[in-house]
Amino acid sequence: MYKLFIKKTKDSKSFLESILNKYHIKNDICYNEYGKPYIKGNPIYFNISHSKEYTVIAISDQEIGVDIEHLTYKKKLLNKIANEEEIKAIKNEHDWTKLWVKKESYVKYLGMGLSYGLKNVDTINNHNFRVKKYKKYYICVYKEK
């Protein structure tokens, strides 16, 4: 189970605080070695992402990763982030942005960020990505079933 919050703000800290307050969760945020935030001593998991003027926060009772990205198409980056099968499936900015948010949500779920290697994220055979379109953005939540 997870809940997704979207707000037109760049102030992700205040946005997170308002959500934690709403659920009466003590705001005791720590960071892992790759910079992923977590709440010390609390079995609530959250993840934050922002793109341009929007911030999304996903809250869950299990580990979760979220990413939001404005529609974009950076063909030049494909060899760095995708495998051959994935590259063949990318035809336009919608495909590209969906691929990006899937990969980012996964490495954020792992708590490793770019260090994991976006190319190592398999978006073809893994079916735990939850992608939704929001205005000119795509959002993806990753969590194990």
Partner: protein, 74 residues
């Protein structure tokens, strides 16, 4: 090298470079996101014909970190 790095940051991300120094933090000062960082990594790889390992990207906190990395690896 520092000037080259700053110019490449500016041209790749289409941002103004006049306030960028070796101490500039990529995320805190320039507000860069993951996509910008990957964009930069690919630009540096192309310009210097090198391969930047994924696990090294997290060490790129400041412009100086990139300069140090390139001076060591180019």
């Amino acid at each position: 090298m520092q000037e080259e790095v700053i110019n490449l940051i500016g041209s790749t991300l289409e941002i103004e470079t006049k306030d960028i120094t070796n101490k500039t933090n990529l995320v805190k000062d320039l507000d860069l996101e993951s996509l910008d960082l990957v964009d930069l990594v690919v630009a540096f790889e192309e310009k210097y014909n090198i391969k930047i390992l994924d696990q090294d990207i997290k060490n790129f906190q400041t412009v100086q970190d990139i300069v140090n990395y390139l001076e060591k690896n180019v």
